[in-house]
Symmetry: C2
Subunit: 444 residues, 2 copies
């Protein structure tokens, strides 16, 4: 559970090492360019846009990539590798360059989000963790952005930790939801590590540990006179709201303040309206309604369309594993090797050859109009370039942006993307073209 | 990326800590029993059975649970907690007991797989990581078991690392697929850590780095004369098989041996038959056919029904995230507190009160007949008990079983489960009853 910038170089598929061994044996160290992009899915889990995330983790890992003695000993023990190659690994450092979209950028499928240029064995060894780190964080940042759009300005809290796919995933979900604009996380470790406000108050078990609901609320208010949110659905949500109101009024008499009540089951739209009415009748207009239980962008959208009076959503499992689309078809493909462009044209799996850049055109108000995938070195008038050189000679070129800066960067970008593309269920393709110069590189 | 038995106690939802603070303030340290079980899903992603996994991680974490000074300082900084409570946390150790099903056990929804008995604040603090660790590993072990069943004895290799939800997930997937009987993993770190055979040879980029396919195969065979599997679909699978055959024959002349060829795209059933024919015509009967690309239990089942001649499957993304069901509805519910049984009867969310045991009856040949959820202390003649006491007074009672023992335990259990329950798409419910004594505890 300690965190470190080092990712073990054995966090890789064996074939990266066997290929590297064969390149080493044949003296193949020519520079290779690998391009990372997301292929359009075929299974209906389409996303109209993606939110780039994970670059910080990739760069830290690349800069710190080296084999320790335990790892070398393990590889030797497999019997697969020569001593000469193992000696090469002992001295191994990543010396290449990386161009990438900054975290918080919005992009579309087939667009390169990261390109590595490095001697062939180095570029190959970077594949697995680049795909894993960028793929998962982009998956979650994208899912979280969809939730933010559905919530129309209401605040969202990451409640996913208990059901994420491991603890690493739990921490990365907290980070990526923060990039997308979530207000807080229930995950205390991630809150500490990433400087995110932690959030949470009580479970049903707390209520059940007391004589009755009012006793539980009073005890909790006693401990947290200004930071309580009462969970009101343990027995009956409406009755729970009345009990919460009684305790809230008595808190007020003591100069304390109930922040909110939480609904965790039942018909959220209907219950939230009824609970709001009860609270308002008691003059508790400033007591917020928080809702949790199975929320994702689809359920948020539905209950708000039904007129739910919910101020804040706890968004858990379905967001934390991106349940409707739990992986991206992210790939890392060779596009240039030893000064020749490389393309592969397997059916349905086309890779654009050559080192690339993504150009984006906007209208006068800053709204995104179209993207053009071009050659890295060309320039297209009036277009922004999305790929930035972030590493050269194996060294990170600038300090990582703060998480709050990434969040702001995303928020500005997201505003510039037309709402038509933010549809939760309809496929709406943002126009992405290919420049004449890049087309020419593709041959026939 | 270092591994340690310690999981930070901040790997938890904030409410576990705020509830603990309130219990502490009110002197509530009575023993509580929490029961962990999987609720039947409502969304069509039903599993007919589950494979228990993750207990080792839970027990290590519980035995090592303590707050370090950085963590205490962070909690103090939140302003939520009193010094008295923070002092309690400084001395905090888990002192409770745990009864659980061993890893590799087969169970069904609503059956308790782990029960914690501990002073209320301790039992509460254990919730989040128990759910995360048991939930994810059980999810993957179950998915992997489904793949094993579909493969009907062919060997399976975990290829999921590049698309798992983080690296922790990648390692746990390797561990859980091994429990279910996978032959190997591509994940080198997990192979080292868990003693699993590592597997993998080459990617398309390797082929593309050479003049042509035969040159690439020859170069690879040169480096790995006895451990090569050639990837044959970069340009054309059938042509690739012919090129592989040419190189395989020349390897044989030098006393070397090609292990296999790998198909990674196209119509797997048709291609595998054609490739098998080409290899056999060349006398290469011992060269195996490995297939990868989008395999999960459903695709394995389909291509085998189509008569595919595949010896081994690389199973990746869809298994590694359990794509058709990426989470389990696993819960941790209070069932007993301060010497009274606790139940909650929210609509659709029933929890059985009381400390429990799962009894399993088998026929004379050892095949599972039915389960009975009973009270912990009762005994049912001729039935096995699935929950074992594995921790007392916060101490693990026995060494963890070796991964190979867990694998064997699973294999024996899986054989005892009738194939009817192993249907990939049909819901077939194993009979699970409730004992008269446990029913009596539930009141009316």
């Amino acid at each position: 559970m300690t965190h470190t910038n080092r990712i073990s170089p054995l966090f890789t598929d064996l074939y990266e090492l066997t290929m590297a061994a064969s390149y080493f044996e044949h003296g193949i160290f020519d520079p290779a360019v690998f391009s990372t992009f997301i292929r359009a899915p075929h299974d209906g889990s389409r996303r109209n846009y993606y939110v780039a995330a994970g670059l910080e983790g990739v760069l830290d890992a690349l800069e710190n990539l080296h084999f320790d003695s335990e790892e070398i000993a393990y590889l030797k023990g497999t019997g697969l590798f020569t001593d000469a190659f193992l000696n090469y690994l002992k001295r191994f450092r990543f010396t290449g360059s990386v161009a990438a979209m900054p975290e918080g950028a919005i992009f579309f499928h087939d667009e390169p989000i990261l390109e590595v240029t490095a001697p062939m064995p180095e570029a190959q060894l970077a594949e697995t963790f680049i795909l894993n780190v960028l793929g998962f964080q982009t998956l979650i940042a994208t899912k979280a952005a969809r939730c933010m759009h559905a919530a129309q300005g209401r605040s969202l809290i990451d409640f996913s930790l208990r059901r994420t796919q491991g603890w690493d995933a739990g921490n990365l979900v907290a980070r990526c939801t923060r990039i997308a604009g979530f207000a807080a996380t229930s995950n205390v470790y991630a809150a500490m590590r990433y400087g995110i406000p932690p959030s949470g108050t009580m479970a049903h078990s707390y209520i059940e540990a007391f004589e009755n609901e009012q006793a539980a609320f009073s005890a909790y208010a006693n401990t947290f006179p200004h930071q309580s949110v009462f969970l009101i659905d343990t027995y009956d949500t409406v009755e729970g709201a009345r009990n919460a109101a009684v305790v809230a009024r008595s808190m007020r008499q003591k100069g304390n303040h109930l922040i909110g009540v939480r609904l965790d089951s039942g018909d959220m739209a209907a219950l939230s309206k009824e609970v709001r009415k009860i609270l308002d009748q008691e003059g508790l207009h400033d007591v917020k309604i928080v809702a949790s239980s199975g929320f994702d962008e689809f359920k948020i959208d539905r209950v708000l369309k039904e007129g739910a009076r919910i101020d804040s959503f706890g968004v858990g499992t379905k967001m934390g594993v991106s349940a409707d689309a739990p992986y991206l078809d992210i790939v890392y493909k060779i596009v240039r090797f030893a000064d020749r462009d490389v393309r592969k044209l397997s059916p349905g799996k086309i890779t654009l050859a050559g080192k690339k850049q993504v150009f984006r055109k906007s209208d006068g108000a800053g709204h995104y109009l179209e993207d053009i995938i071009g050659a890295r070195e060309e320039s297209i008038e009036g277009a922004e370039t999305l790929l930035e050189t972030v590493m050269e000679g194996g060294k990170i070129l600038r300090p990582h942006p703060e998480l709050s800066d990434i969040q702001r960067h995303f928020a500005r970008n997201f505003q510039r993307l037309d709402d038509a593309y933010k549809s939760l269920d309809k496929e709406v393709r943002f126009p992405v073209g290919i420049s004449a110069r890049l087309k020419a590189l593709q041959g026939n």
